[in-house]
C-alpha cells in the first residue's frame, strides 16, 4: 500500500468516496448548464408569450388558450419590452404606444385590432349619488383614474379636456393607478366614489359596479393596436396569433366581451314608410346600425325620433317640416334616404 493510499484511507477519502464526490460535482455542472440553457428563449411549440393591455385579460386567453399572457398597463409593458422582456407579441390599448415602439424598431408595423368605450363606474351602492359626469364635480367626491401614461388614463383626460371639465375634476382625483384593473377593483370594493374604465372592464363585475356613460360626443377614439416583437424567436407563431385575433372568430370573441368592431358602424337606411304623410304623423325607417343614433332630420329640420331597434326607427314629423330626404346621424357618420318624403298640410 503506498503512502498516498494510506493517507487517503486515514482521512476517509477512499477511492469510492472520491468517485462519489466527483460524480456530484459533474452532476452540478451538467445541471447548471442545463439551467442556463433553459433560460435562453425557446422555440416553443406549446405557446407564445403575449404582453397585452390589462383590459384584454378575459378575451385573449379565450381566443388562444395555449399562450402565456402578461397583462399590465400598456406603458408598463412598453418599458419592459424596451428593457428586453421576452415577449413575442405586444397588444396595446392605444395606437400611440405601438407607433412609438415601431419607430424605435422594437415591434413590427402595428395593426389595429379592436375598439373600446370609456365609461364611468360607481360602486353598486353609489355612495356619492353620481348619475352623470357633471356630478363628479361636486366637492368631496373621490375619483380614481389611471395615470396619464396609461392609455385609459390619457383617454380619461381627453374626455375631460373635450368637455372643459379638467379643472373642475382634477381636485377630486384621489389616486392615479398604473393600470385599469386597479381602478376597477378600487371602485368595485367601494374605496372611491367613481372611476374611469373601459365598458369591457365594467362588464366583468356587473354586480359590484354601475356604469354611467360618457356623453357620446365626448367619447375619445379608443383603438387598440398590436404587433409582433422584432426580437421574438417565434416570429411565425407570433404572426399566427395576430392573424387569429384579426380573424372572424377572434373578432367574434372580442365582441362577446363587449369590445367594439373595428369598423365604426355607420347607419344605413333601407326603406322609408310611408312616403307621404302630414305634420305630426309618424314615419318608420328600416335599415341597419341605428343604435346610437344622435339625430334624425327631414330636409334639415330635426324630428323627434325613437330607436326601436338597431334596424328600426320611428320618427314624428315636426310642425315646421318640409318635404325632403331623411338624414339619420350617429357619431360615426350619417345616412341620407334615397327617396324623399312628401309632407302634406
Amino acid at each position: 500500500m503506498s503512502a498516498g493510499t494510506r493517507r487517503a484511507r486515514r482521512s476517509g477519502r477512499t477511492p469510492a468516496r472520491r468517485l462519489a464526490s466527483a460524480a456530484v460535482v459533474a452532476a452540478l455542472c451538467v445541471g447548471l448548464t442545463a439551467a442556463s440553457g433553459a433560460a435562453q428563449p425557446q422555440r416553443s411549440a406549446a405557446g407564445i408569450t403575449v404582453y397585452a393591455a390589462a383590459s384584454l385579460t378575459q378575451a385573449f386567453p379565450v381566443i388562444a388558450p395555449g399562450n402565456t399572457y402578461s397583462f399590465a398597463g400598456s406603458n408598463t409593458l412598453e418599458a419592459q419590452i424596451a428593457n428586453g422582456a421576452p415577449a413575442d407579441v405586444f397588444a396595446s390599448a392605444n395606437t400611440s404606444i405601438p407607433a412609438a415602439m415601431y419607430a424605435q424598431g422594437l415591434i413590427e408595423k402595428p395593426v389595429d385590432f379592436t375598439r373600446n368605450t370609456l365609461v364611468i363606474v360607481v360602486p353598486k351602492s353609489n355612495p356619492a349619488g353620481i348619475h352623470s359626469i357633471y356630478d363628479l364635480t361636486k366637492p368631496g367626491v373621490s375619483i380614481d383614474i389611471a395615470n396619464s401614461a396609461v392609455p385609459v388614463g390619457s383617454y380619461t383626460l381627453q374626455v375631460w379636456n373635450q368637455m372643459g371639465l379638467t379643472s373642475a375634476l382634477m381636485p377630486n382625483v384621489v389616486s392615479q393607478e398604473t393600470d385599469v384593473t386597479t381602478v376597477l377593483s378600487k371602485i368595485a370594493s367601494n374605496q372611491a366614489d367613481a372611476g374611469f374604465v373601459y365598458s369591457t372592464d365594467a362588464e366583468t363585475v356587473p354586480t359590484q359596479v354601475t356604469v354611467i356613460p360618457v356623453p357620446a360626443w365626448a367619447q375619445p377614439k379608443v383603438v387598440y393596436a398590436m404587433a409582433v416583437v422584432t426580437k421574438s424567436p417565434n416570429q411565425a407563431a407570433a404572426q399566427a396569433f395576430v392573424n387569429q385575433v384579426l380573424s372572424a372568430s377572434g373578432q367574434a370573441v372580442m365582441r362577446k366581451f363587449g369590445f367594439l368592431p373595428l369598423t365604426a358602424p355607420v347607419p344605413a337606411i333601407a326603406a322609408v314608410k310611408p312616403l307621404q304623410t302630414k305634420r305630426g304623423g309618424t314615419v318608420t325607417l328600416t335599415g341597419t346600425n341605428f343604435s346610437g343614433t344622435t339625430s334624425v332630420t327631414i330636409a334639415g329640420v330635426a324630428a323627434m325620433f325613437k330607436v326601436v331597434s338597431s334596424g328600426k326607427i320611428v320618427l314624428t314629423v315636426p310642425p315646421k317640416a318640409k318635404s325632403g330626404a331623411i338624414t339619420v346621424t350617429n357619431p360615426n357618420g350619417n345616412a341620407i334616404s334615397i327617396k324623399k318624403i312628401t309632407i302634406g298640410a
Binding site: 380614481d144 395615470n147 393607478e177 398604473t178 370594493s189 374605496q191
Partner: protein, 292 residues
C-alpha cells in the same frame, strides 16, 4: 541503518497547493458577493451622465416626491418614537403572561410582505374596512391621503424600532436604575435621566433603521394610500411611476440616486451614534447593538 519511525499520527496538513486553492476560493466568494452588492448601486450613478441626474433633480415629479417623503417620514418617525419607546420599555421591563406573544405580534410586520400589510391596512382602516364607518362618523378620512401614507410607513417600520428598543432597554444595567431610585429620583426622572441615556445608543440605531425602512416603503403605501403626485406619491412610488413614463428612465435613476444617498447617510449616522455611545457611556451588561 537508521531506525525509521513509522509515520506517526501527525496532524494531517493540506498540501501548499490545496491551501492556496482554498484561500483563492474564499477570496473569489467574497469578491463575488461584494461585486454583486456593489454593481447595482454603482450602476444607478453611472448609467447616465451625472449632469443628467442633477438636471432631473429640478423635475417637479422629483421635488413633489421629496416633499411627500420628507413630511410623511418625519411624522411617522415622531409617532414611532413616542409609541415605540413606551411599548419597548413596557415589554423590556415587565414580565407577564403573553409577553412573548405580544413581542411576536409586534415583530410580525417585519416579516409580513408589504403588499399583504397594505391590504390589511385597507380592510381595517379603509372606507369599507373594519373601522371605516367609525372613522366616517368621526369625520376622519384616512384613505388616499397623507394620513394613509403615515399609517402604512409606521406599520412597517415601527416594529424595527420596537425590537431594537426592547434589546436596548434590556441591556440597561439594573443596578444603575436601582441606584437612581435609592438616591431619591422618582420613576419618571429615573427613566428620563438614567434609563433612556443608557439605552440611547440602541434606540438611535433602531430609529435609524426604522427611518430607512419607512423611507423605502412601497407595497403597503401603494395599496393603502394610492399614488398621487404631490399628495401620496413618495420617492419609491415615484421611481415606479417615472420608469413607466416614455423616456422616464433618467428621472427614475435620479430618484433612485437620491434614495441611495439618503439611505447611506442614515446607515452611516446610525453606525456613528451607536459606536460613540458604546464607547462613551457603556451600556452595562450586554453592549451589543445589532444593526439588523
Amino acid at each position: 541503518m537508521v531506525a525509521t519511525t513509522p509515520p506517526a499520527a501527525v496532524p494531517r496538513r493540506a498540501s501548499p497547493t490545496a491551501r492556496m486553492l482554498l484561500t483563492l476560493g474564499f477570496f473569489l466568494l467574497v469578491l463575488t458577493t461584494l461585486a454583486f452588492i456593489a454593481l447595482p448601486i454603482v450602476a444607478i450613478f453611472v448609467h447616465v451622465a451625472p449632469s443628467t441626474l442633477l438636471h432631473e433633480l429640478t423635475n417637479p415629479l422629483v421635488l413633489d416626491a421629496l416633499v411627500v417623503s420628507a413630511k410623511t417620514t418625519l411624522i411617522s418617525q415622531a409617532l414611532i418614537l413616542v409609541f415605540g419607546t413606551a411599548t419597548a420599555y413596557f415589554l423590556a421591563s415587565r414580565r407577564f403572561r403573553g409577553r412573548s406573544l405580544a413581542i411576536t405580534l409586534i415583530e410580525l410586520p417585519i416579516v409580513l410582505p408589504p403588499a399583504a400589510a397594505g391590504l390589511g391596512l385597507l380592510v381595517a382602516f379603509g372606507r369599507v374596512g373594519l373601522l371605516g364607518s367609525t372613522f366616517d362618523a368621526l369625520g376622519i378620512n384616512v384613505a388616499f391621503n397623507q394620513a394613509a401614507v403615515v399609517l402604512a410607513v409606521t406599520f412597517v417600520a415601527g416594529p424595527f424600532y420596537v425590537r431594537q428598543g426592547i434589546a436596548a432597554f434590556e441591556s440597561v444595567d439594573e443596578t444603575m436604575v436601582a441606584a437612581s431610585r435609592t438616591l431619591g429620583a422618582g420613576p419618571l426622572r429615573t427613566f428620563s435621566r438614567v434609563t433612556v441615556p443608557l439605552a440611547a445608543g440602541g434606540l438611535a440605531a433602531g430609529q435609524a433603521i426604522a427611518m430607512a425602512r419607512g423611507l423605502g416603503e412601497f407595497g403597503a403605501t401603494i395599496m393603502f394610500a394610492g399614488s398621487l403626485q404631490g399628495r401620496t406619491q413618495t420617492l419609491p412610488l415615484a421611481v415606479y411611476y417615472a420608469f413607466e413614463l416614455p423616456n422616464g428612465l433618467d428621472v427614475a435613476l435620479a430618484i433612485s440616486a437620491i434614495l441611495t444617498l439618503v439611505s447611506l447617510a442614515i446607515l452611516l449616522t446610525a453606525k456613528v451614534i451607536s459606536g460613540s455611545y458604546l464607547f462613551r457611556r457603556g451600556t452595562g451588561r450586554n453592549p451589543t447593538v445589532a444593526l439588523d
